[in-house]
Symmetry: D4
Subunit: 249 residues, 8 copies
């Protein structure tokens, strides 16, 4: 339920085109709809400026499509995260305008392009080639939420000259998302170079004591640079979301 | 080394009042000074908009005072965190203009009031009475960095009406810092109410499976609200710092 | 061995219809039967008011059916938990009156409907769509044990208005089972609203630092609301069982 | 704010003895009072049938006394948990009618004896002598909340005949609280004997792999008896509270 | 290399039937043979009274057969543990006299029956049906090492009367192996009944906070009964082995 | 209640010197005595061949003395473990014949020397000087329980020639207790040399990743030698106890 | 970019064969090449004496081949680690001169044999047959980096005479790599025998409390021998690499 | 027992100055001396090129002095680590030539200066001021073992220009010891700059998720630079020791 839709209903009531009782019923459904296996929070885009995002893991293609259908009636951008290719194919057969980004395992369905809402550029940096899926999830989320986004891939701390080549781009970003697995050192180094907030995303890339990303997570939370805040392991979506909130004018 | 100081030196060179060689030597010291037990990074306020902050734990009163002295020559606001009362007393005997906030265990030394740099208000919420020290560390840091800051104490999720009384203040904040121990649920609830970034700070308050704050930390990283980013346990300073970066115009 | 059956045998002895020695032998088998791969505790329904429940995981379809057969001779309700569809099919081919609930992975075999034994309503709440299997396990268990049960699905803390819509139902329940993964915050919020016992069930839903449900578990044990007790991760059955014990008149 | 007090105010308004505006102001304070370092939730006894309990750890004697004073105006029973002897002495010098139970580290202040509200007896069992403080916290809490409570101390599983001597008392209890450290086996054994809910409390008693009570906690959550629910390590208060909720008629 | 074989070689040298140099060479091979992927420790049966046991996991059927061949030349009993059925079939096609016990995933190859070496009976108890594979591994190992062994299955602590039915057998055993998953309480209870050593084997049976057997392991190490010693999770073989060492006359 | 005492009472009844009812009452007290803060299990020495041992930690000197007094009426050897010097002094002032071993923090009170019950020698080995307290606890326990015990201190794996000097003593022991902290490697090495059971005791000696003894514990449970069983961290008493059970003729 | 190549370009510039601008462009590509999914660090062999190694896990065969192609233009030895057989086949179809070592899951592509750069011999020891893959990864890495390498397999601490047979080879090595799973005791024992650095590699071999290699890792870090340094679990490559650095003349 | 001493005894025997039997007895004591609470390994300096080092923690001043006395008869350099000031004073009162370094908590006793044995320079880098004690332990150990050592303090990754100022010194070192707490990122960055082995030492500096140094340790073991090997948390001594082994000519 975006502001447009709400204003429209209220104008209709004011104009006497819709009875108050009918409008009330209509608004109640618009606010929160119970479809058996989910309570769809249509109020969210009013309250938070962006509709609820569908977490695809643990939901069937049918459930995903059902929720998309209900949300599509009210929203112009819908995101589904953590979708595997076969589920995605099933969903896209019903929503052919939606697009599946296999690298990031995301479905993006835009009925209208998101207007740019951000103040500046969000930059996504990744430490290694294997961190690409998480970095792309952050990239696509931030883009779908109306931001100008750029990315630089594979600039880990074992060869800092690769990072320093992009020094200017780093200095000019409004928010920086840094994605890294293994020892999780990149956010500390990047944050030491700038006066902007850095959102660190640990990934589960690694083996042995990488502990499925816990080592990178703990390293990032212990960062000796103070302008670092952290999200859950592999949570590219969350990083893109919170970065959008920060970048919003 | 703030911008003022740097410009002044350069103007003197330009005006012929200072020889180029002398200015070079002077600038080199201003950039990074080795005082035996520490490398003071005077460039930091240039690079990051705020000087290095002194982490008091594990440093003697003498070491703290030594670093303050060197930094005081170039900066107008100096923060020292995690100082116990006896150390604080020793330090303040040398810097009587500095002020010790015992609740937050911080020393704040302002030779000039920090100009307000933030776009809006930073709000600090705490879940319980025992979280006050961490909340105050966040509050004082954000204030010292030139922000308008407000705080509401003891509004945990076991009695949500206490939180809802402050709904408006929450809706109007630019950034919200939420401090909570035990089950760490407050950031999820608050973040669900707004479209602004929430910086969550887990505290070590609790016993048994609170695991020194790890339970609260993990809960916050698992937040079902997407506009939450997290800092280390008890890291009120970091939360205040990153919130300032976000709030900066 | 329910009370009915025991009384019947004793009446037969009293009436001289059965010799004491024969009755003794018969009662001994009824108390505890050794069938090679299991000791069936027939006394349990006498001692605890409900027969032993068969934990399906790690047992073959044949073993499950074997135990059901022996128990069926003495009990009117038999539950099997954690059964996958193929095992269920094999079991149901021998007990066609039994019913498989695929969502909850449970077999319920009632030869007679369980008489309602509870004082009031047991309410099952779940935080998300993915928690449905665990919530259904709790729901079916409580129902099979003779309780009036209701459920509300997908009312997590990121949109509290969804929860508050059901405020009355929550206030009227005798016991509330709250099922949640990720940050596990829902039990604290619900428990803060009522003066009834809340049984919290953490689920393994989530990724990264959800740690297979440990984060939700720890959050629930740390609840700042005091009327919360907790069962093992994904243990919907246990929650339904203990809630039944509480609700029993 | 108990029901009595609320009714009295409303009767005065009805009788014209108090102006509506004055009553409104008075009721607002009665609902939730902000005293700087705490938001006192006076509504709690209305909502939950028992006033907020003061967690003494991390609060000064002065803060405790301040909260007691505000609550004492409205409640007839006030509990303070986790108070060390010196703090207790300071508090009792201001509230001489209150009583300090040193074993349980609790202050109980009853201006009127709590009317018995429970349906039956709550039984507290402890596995060892060292578990006494936690067992006593549970005992005193349940008693203060208006229950008939009994206790049996030091009946661990290494000598089951000690437990079996009390078989009848166990069979007759409405709710059983079982307190145990080390291997945490007692709740499973007790729960196997009865058809009533068992609230298990792990304690931090032990060394080495007792891991501060985590081993006992995990054992209890893994109980092969299904009528067991668990509270946090050393949380005798929580066990007494939830048992009271269960026992309430 | 058992004592028989060694004595025989030495007798041949003494009798002049074999040259000293040839005997030396022969004995050296008999002591420790390098077959590329393994150093076979033929001395072990001399040193420890039982030959090396082949740990099947992570070895190919070919490697297992290769080692069996070399050992078979010198030993009369050979054990292979942790063999899956397909590997077992491949191995048995080369050693048709060997026998595969699928429940315990063990191959036992006896060219001659092991003479009874134990002083008394070793009793294997298991807490549940799912613990059978580990219990059988212990049973078969102890049997192959020349002991009289008995077993009782599914006598967990939730129904102690099942255990007490076997009280006499328990009292008469020389060593007791207790196998249990979940809360791991059975060893404490059994050990409290006897004055014999109890070897506890935690199993990985369970879910959630069973943590793959860690909870049972920790509970057993924390046993309040002092005659309990513990082996690794699922290590039925080790329990059978150490019990044999204890039982040896 | 040892066998002597029991036989005596029964003989008196048989001789008509004591009435049956008086004997019954007397025996009941002898079996299990409730002294408020403890249930003393007098039956234990009948059931297990050795009286209950008093765990001193968390008990006051008064409680310890109280239990000793009751036990002293029936037993000839009483052990108290984990007693600090000041408590010990208070206890010994009441039982001057008892002896305090400060190194092992144990009180041993023998009214008559324990008759040797063991088949052979129990050998206690320790890896380092800092493991001495735990090694001594094992040594004294085994000695008090009627065994011939020897010990060798500081023979860690970093200099194996120190261990090999004692090869013969190791080969001749009936049971070997191996005490080690840090990497916990000594039990594997010793167990590889003999065909007798090895009881491994991890100690909390070390720093960093010694994790309070968990690393040593885990190493010992993973031992590649199969004749190793393990007790809790720092549990010298348990090792001495279980070794005595093994050594008993 | 090895020294040869760099010198050649510079010589061409000096000889006027190549224009300075062209050389600059050429050198820039040679230093760091961005191929979309990776930043290839061609400078590494200049800076570190050995080219970047390709970590195969999480990369497609196509990506691996793409990186090999770019690197092959400048380097004479290329390593790819953690390649499964099917990926390896796809890669080798494009680089038929490269060789796949299936045991170690490595591809080694040498266009010219690596000149021996090491001062002495690197010796690789493994504790068991299952540790072979990790040991071989270390062996092949050290060999490819120009060292003389030897190996001894399956010499665990449960039969030390197997190790002592190779005493001389151990004494003569310049660096020793010790690979072990389970209790991880071998490095301590080996390090106690020599005055050379020992690089310990824990493996994930084991079950139960081996915790995927964490137990072995912690044991090695706790080694009572001081000449031990440790690399990540299963990191044979890292051990070979750091041993080469140490051995380099 | 250094080589000098051994040769001297042998020369005396050869010259007939000492009888063979007397020499044998003398050499045996020189090899391994049992002084009750310790087995002194005099052979170690022969075997490993440096005498045993005394770990001071958990030893009394008297024990330390006793061991020093025995070792002093044969060695020219003796180190004692982890000594607190009061113990140090007691020890130095008996060995006035020894020197206590309070910062590093070490006693160094040199009767003759250690001859330089190293090939090049060992460089010690520390990330922060609080890491100084561990860095100094490494520094003094390496120096006492006959190396040329340099150090640079407080060059963490949040301000890389501080590190880069020392680029040349880093490039010229033979071995580099990097000491860091918190996120432990420094070793990766330094190792990326050089082709020499880096020994990483995690410290317990930090709070919250630093987990007493585990986070830094895990980060270091996960280093994306391959020339890093790691020692235990706070183990400056071990780092100095292993670096000496590497540097030895």
């Amino acid at each position: 339920m975006n502001k447009e839709l709400l204003s429209q209903v209220l104008r209709q009531v004011a104009a006497g085109e819709v009875a108050a009782e009918d409008a009330a019923r209509q608004l109640q459904v618009m606010a929160c709809e119970d479809i058996g296996y989910a309570h769809i929070d249509h109020q969210r885009s009013l309250r938070k400026g962006f509709p609820e995002v569908i977490f695809g893991e643990g939901k069937s293609a049918e459930q995903i499509a059902g929720i998309m259908e209900r949300m599509g009636a009210q929203e112009s951008v819908i995101l589904v995260t953590r979708v595997d290719p076969s589920k995605a194919q099933a969903v896209l057969s019903r929503f052919p305008q939606a697009r599946f980004h296999s690298e990031a395992r995301m479905i993006v369905w835009e009925t209208a392009p998101a207007p740019v809402q951000g103040r500046g550029t969000i930059l996504v940096l990744s430490a290694g080639t294997s961190d690409i899926p998480v970095a792309m999830e952050a990239f696509l989320t931030a883009q779908a939420m109306g931001n100008h986004v750029e990315k630089v891939i594979d600039v880990g701390v074992a060869g800092l000259h690769r990072l320093f080549r992009h020094r200017e781009m780093i200095a000019n970003a409004m928010v920086i998302i840094v994605v890294a697995g293994m020892e999780g050192a990149l956010p500390s180094v990047v944050a030491g170079m700038v006066s902007r907030p850095v959102i660190a995303v640990p990934t589960s890339v690694g083996y042995g004591v990488s502990l499925g990303g816990l080592s990178a997570l703990f390293a990032m939370l212990n960062s000796c640079s103070s302008n670092v805040a952290v999200v859950n392991i592999d949570n590219g979506f969350g990083a893109g979301y919170v970065a959008s909130m920060i970048n919003r004018a």
